[in-house]
Amino acid sequence: MIKFYLLVKRLLPVVFLASCYSMALAQDRAVTGRVTSKDDASSVPGVNILEKGTSNGTVSDADGNYKINVGANATLVFSFVGYATKEVAVGSQNKVDVTLDSDVTALQEVVVTGYGSQEKKEITGAVVSMKQESFNRGAIQDPSQLLQGKVAGVSIVKAGSDPNEPFTVRMRGLTTAGANTSPLYVIDGVIGASIANVDPNDIASIDVLKDGSAAAIYGTQASSGVILITTKKGKAGKTVVDFNSYVAMDNIAKSVSHMDRAQYLGVGGTDLGSNTDWTKQVTQTGVTVVNNLGLSGGVGNTQYRFSVNVRDVQGILKNSGFDQLNGRFSLQQQAFNGKVRFSLDASSTTRNTNYSFQEALRYAVTYNPTAPIYDPGSNSPTTGGIYYEASLFDNFNPVAILNQNQNDGKKTTINVSGKLDVDILPGLTATGTYAIQRENEILGQYYSKYAYFRGFNRTGLANRNTNVGNRDVLEMYLAYNKQFNDLNLALTGGYSFQERATQGYGVSTGNFLTDALGYNALASSQDLAKGGLTTLSSYASPNQRLIGFFGRANANYKETYLLSASVRQEGYSGFGLGNKWGTFGAVSGAVVLNKLFDIPAVSNLKLRAGWGLTGALPPTYGLSQTQYGQSTSYGYSGGGLIPVVNTTLAPNPNLKWEQKQEINVGVDFGFLNNRLTGSLDVYQRNAKDFILSRPIDASQNVASTQYQNLGEIKSNGVELAVSYAAIQKSDFTWTTTLVASHVKSVLVKLYSGTETATGLPEVGSALGAPGQNSTYTIQNIAGQQVGTMWGPTYQGVDASGNPILSAAPGIIGHGLPTMDLGWTNNFTYKNFDFNIFFRGTFGHQLINSYRAFYEPVIGGQISSYNRVNTKYFDPNLKNAQWSSYYVENGDFVKLDNAQLGYNFRFAQGSMVSKLRVYVGGNNLFVITGYTGTDPEARLTDSGATDNGAVNPAPNPLAPGIDRRNNYFRARTVTIGVNLSF
């Protein structure tokens, strides 16, 4: 902050001098120009243009052109509803073209708040609104990337650069130890819709409801915050065609450091006679091509927008990537003098994914660097095909894995929603929304009969799985708005019905005559004839219903005193009989101080305070009911096989809603005519009764664990966002924005709160095989941060190569970060624009699993597994045992993205209205002391993987473990074009 202040101080005189200079050159004459919108480069008709300090003015015509005679030293003021007012010093120019921003001046922003919107000046909660100009740039494949680092308190994290892995999104740290740690998405008003079905190119704005008072209108799904996405819509006027295209190239920025042939032989490795760079063999330059075409316009009472997005994405691991086709259509129709408004949104995404095998990266690190790729004596009876394979645990030829096997899938998501608004009486509007979502996925894996990795002796193995998901949402509400003298009152009340269901099945079968048909010929499996190795599975969820009644009242007195209150009563089918319904709500208020007092240089100063109570859903359905499952096991009766039905779930009929209370106090400020704007928020959250599995008395229950409402987590946080329009000249602008957040989540208690550290059961944090099963690294200890790393302290190595460890284990790290920083700078100079964004995360430690397994020179391993080689490598250490030696600081600062663009100018009437070309990069450099591939926090844990097995349910209680299945980090370079006509 101090640095930032100094920067401002230094630059202010420069700006001042520059404006004096322009004044000196002014003279009396006619000025012409054209006003366009910065959003889409379309012309803006009807703009008020006023010579500052005079009554001399004009209005732009239908094409946005204007002409005005001005005096000496004139400054023109451009203003129009929905756009930020802009002042331009005319200087010596005869032609002043102006682009108007639809945001910048925070006071006029409209913020989507759920079941309606408010002007930003009326907002009483911790809400952040982002327009597309402020989004992240470059190779963006996932909508959440647009916000990464831009919103104080929102962590958007992915370690490594796997194009097929989604981002983990957390708002204000870890609120719950239960299932719902991700925020709720609301897309064009549709609650819970799939973010995967929104192409980043189609997003106009994103609103983030951070605190409980803002989010409580969404009740039970809102505990981890709400993200509202508004897609681009058509505007009345001429048809606009937008075309955006880029090519991006991914290269390895950081792999796991391991030894080369000479180094490996130097520490005692076995020489198998070759020199193979396994990492090079399994990686590539990932070339990604993205094309987006948008067509929008409107006639009379009808507006439309249609877009097509095509993505062909390659990762740095060979074979990995996806190609995706997304289409979106939106239509707005007004009738009865605008009293009835209808809108339809439809979108579809089909993604073909090649998951490839991350195991190839894992084994590229550990495979013997002197091993050949191919086995000279091919068709070895001990290891299968033509590739060289060692007979070892968790050690397979990485090239063979990629070349012999197949791992892919196809997913189609369709969303359709309709919305009807009817103005019934003056101020009273009724709204109805109906939305559907259909998801359809099919996955396939095939392991060759010659593949030592899983296929060998299985004579080929095929796995197929399908998953189908349905989601239906019906919502109806009334909104009433009335002005009573100085008091404005807005009331909203309604009903919400959500229903979702999933189903699917899977087949795993092997023993094929030939590999030729892969997983497409399940009937060819000889398992059926030879008996018994085929496995089948299927599931079908109940219709999971979430039904809510909600209401909200907003009062606004003289735009000075603001009050908001909301309530939502919600019921969920998955809770116990007497506990299905819960009531949630919020109260918040604000006072606009600059309306009460005239404070010099202060253009906006608003104090806010709010309280909110929200809930969260259980991780799965059926937890309150006695279940006997499916008859998947067998026993004998009368000498013959019979299916067996058992129960392994201890039902909890008392299961009820988790509760999170939050108090938020904030201030929004604007100085110097809102050139310097920002907000500061302080909050405390208290979540209790989260739904978590805990051990129970095995002797009197059908299982030794049960889902219960447990524990308490308290989080304290501070968030700051400051934006300064440092330079605002017609040919040179610079805006700089800093966001910073601090949060610390402390586990008040998990069970009774009296457990000792070692009395708690493990939370699935074991390092895994080989040799480190049952080696738990994370404990959740009352009074400590969630996700405390627990183990002995490393004190050196003894003469025989064993680590010297502290006698007693203790706290040796924390997995969750305590601070996030983001610093954005946007520059425009004449036709150039440049943006650069730095992002940092601090306060977290990482467990470097690769080092923990493969850095010590272990007797049994050194002759066969390559060694990880970081600055911590110690040739004297010969035994791998979990300790603080493998815990490293994860603090980092990244040059997350930078982009340089050039905007071509076109004569009026030209067919092309906008042409911008740019070059940029993502992940350009990272400053960190961490020796693994990526210092990003691991917010959840995917579990130990044995021979590449995958744990599908990430564990939020074991953060900070950098597992061996992580994809390497890539650096991306992008070249692109934006074209409008």
Partner: protein, 518 residues
């Protein structure tokens, strides 16, 4: 323009929705519930067998089998460099906690796994005993009670002080071994006679119930301080004289991949590669390269092996010595030698001989294990091969696992006779031992000692999950063996109560107390 009044329509539809759409019933579709199951006699049968399925989990890693085997002088999991350290737990179980482990013994996975699995079986039985369709059938209730008694038996044997529950949702509190013994004595006396005497594959019969009684009474001295050898002999006699079982002339037929229905089996877990899965010994014991020997469908894990002293306790002519997989290993063709390029050839400690594989690449299982930890050579140690590994085996063997078999019951009876008469050469007992020994190619015993009987039981019952029980009864559980120094901490004779269960019950009326000494 005509004024359109939407209000009544909207209010009306909103009202309708509010009435009809607040239904939150949860109708589960992919799982059976009390609402739809069981409905027919076949379905009742399907639930009756449920408590048996927990037994299937007893023969994988970190379950009952692990606790009976690697805590003894016949099997171990050495630390093989980077493999199988696993928090030090497998080695600490073998050294009875004399080697370093990250967790305290009460936190070991094998203890909680075994405990929780047994009580899941007990709870399933408790649930079914009162289920309509079963409750009114005395034979079915008796079978469930005897099955429950088997779970309680091995919990008693392992953990000693255990909670007793005979009704789902109720816990009578933690009982002493003597209390549990008394409960089991009464329970078996009442219910075993109600079981069928006819063969019933995979299920408990009268004869299996009698076999549980043999074990309970043979070990009564350990559990209560009072011997019950007459009762043990009577129960064993009943089986031997009236059960219709016979000794297999070929010892290995008892353990083959097609051993189901063996006339020596009194009760076996009816494992099957497809239907009754869980017996994964090839994964646990074989070397990675052994995949080629047996054309295994998955790569093994190279863990469990036997001890050199135990291997050498077999005479060269003893046919049972083929229970070990030893020496050079070949591919399935029997000709191609399996080699392991990755054998240890780097000196990592001062002792050259200790950390370099002496014969290099050929995959050769040696009786000698160079060291218990940390650098046991990957090819060292003879492997547990008494159960046949069929060519093309999956991780789930087809071999049935005999819990009780005639040969073992005959040895039990002999021991009861010896102990009752305090004479380990008692002719009646000796005759029984020799009868069992006749098929091994070894001469008859003319006399026996306590130590020799223990050794002979080891050779006969190797890999059958009885060794720990035998060692405790013979007072040899604390004796030294490879990887374990001698100790005199008698509390080690009982396992610790699992920490997760102490945590789970903390603060309740039935809070569990840790066994003395832990």
């Amino acid at each position: 323009m005509k004024r359109v009044n939407f209000l009544p329509t909207i209010l009306l539809s909103a009202g309708l929705v509010a009435v009809s759409c607040t239904n939150l019933d949860e109708n589960l579709k992919d799982t059976l519930t009390p609402a739809n199951f069981p409905k027919s006699p076949t379905e009742i049968d399907a639930s009756l067998v449920a408590p048996y399925t927990n037994l299937y989990n007893n023969y994988g890693h970190n379950g009952f089998f692990t606790l009976q085997e690697i805590t003894t002088d016949e099997a171990m999991i050495p630390q093989r460099g980077g493999d199988w350290y696993d928090g030090g737990q497998p080695q600490a179980l073998h050294s009875h906690f004399q080697t370093v482990s990250i967790a305290k013994p009460e936190g070991f996975d094998a203890f909680s796994g075994t405990w929780n699995n047994a009580y899941a079986g007990i709870s399933a039985a408790n649930r079914l005993i009162v289920q309509p369709g079963i409750a009114e059938n005395p034979a079915k209730v008796a079978e469930l009670k005897v099955l429950r008694a088997w779970y309680y038996f091995y919990l008693l044997d392992g953990f000693g002080n255990i909670p007793l529950s005979t009704k789902l949702g109720e816990n009578q509190g933690q009982k002493t071994p003597a209390d549990i013994y008394a409960f089991l004595d009464a329970e078996l006396t009442t219910n075993v006679p109600l079981l069928t005497k006819a063969a019933n594959y995979g299920r408990l019969t009268y004869w299996a119930g009698r076999a549980i009684q043999v074990k309970l009474y043979l070990n009564a001295q350990t559990y209560t301080g009072t011997a019950q050898y007459d009762k043990a002999i009577a129960a064993a006699d009943d089986i031997i004289n009236n059960g219709g079982f016979g000794l297999e002339p070929n010892y290995f037929d008892i353990f083959s991949a097609s051993n189901n229905g063996s006339k020596e089996h009194i009760w076996a877990i009816p494992f099957d590669r497809a239907y009754v899965q869980g017996f994964n010994l090839p994964q646990m014991t074989l070397h990675y390269g052994s995949q080629a020997t047996y054309k295994l469908q998955q790569q093994p894990w190279n863990g469990y092996c036997s001890l050199e002293d135990f291997y050498n306790s077999y005479n060269a002519g003893d046919k049972r010595k083929n229970a070990f997989i030893v020496g050079q290993q070949y591919a399935a063709d029997g000709v191609t030698k399996i080699t392991d390029d990755s054998y240890e050839k780097t000196q990592v400690t001062g002792d050259v001989n200790n950390t370099i594989d002496p014969d290099g690449a050929p995959l050769n299982f040696t009786p000698k294990v160079n060291e218990f930890l940390p650098n046991a050579l990957r090819q060292s140690g003879v492997r547990l091969g008494k159960f046949q590994f069929a060519i093309g085996a999956t991780p789930n063997l087809d071999n049935d696992f005999p819990v009780f078999r005639l040969g073992a019951i005959m040895l039990d009876k002999a021991e009861a006779i010896f102990r009752k008469s305090s004479n380990f050469s008692d002719p009646t007992g000796l005759a029984l031992v020799n009868q069992v020994r006749a098929r091994t190619g070894m001469p008859n015993y003319a006399s026996l000692t306590s130590d020799e009987l223990l050794a002979e039981r080891g050779r006969e019952l190797f890999s059958e999950a009885w060794r720990r029980n035998d060692l405790v009864r013979f007072g040899k559980y604390l004796a030294p063996w490879f990887g374990k120094p001698a100790t005199d901490d008698a509390h080690i004779n009982l396992f610790p109560v699992p920490l997760s269960q102490i945590t789970a019950t903390a603060g309740s009326a039935t809070a569990l107390k840790q066994n003395a000494g832990y």
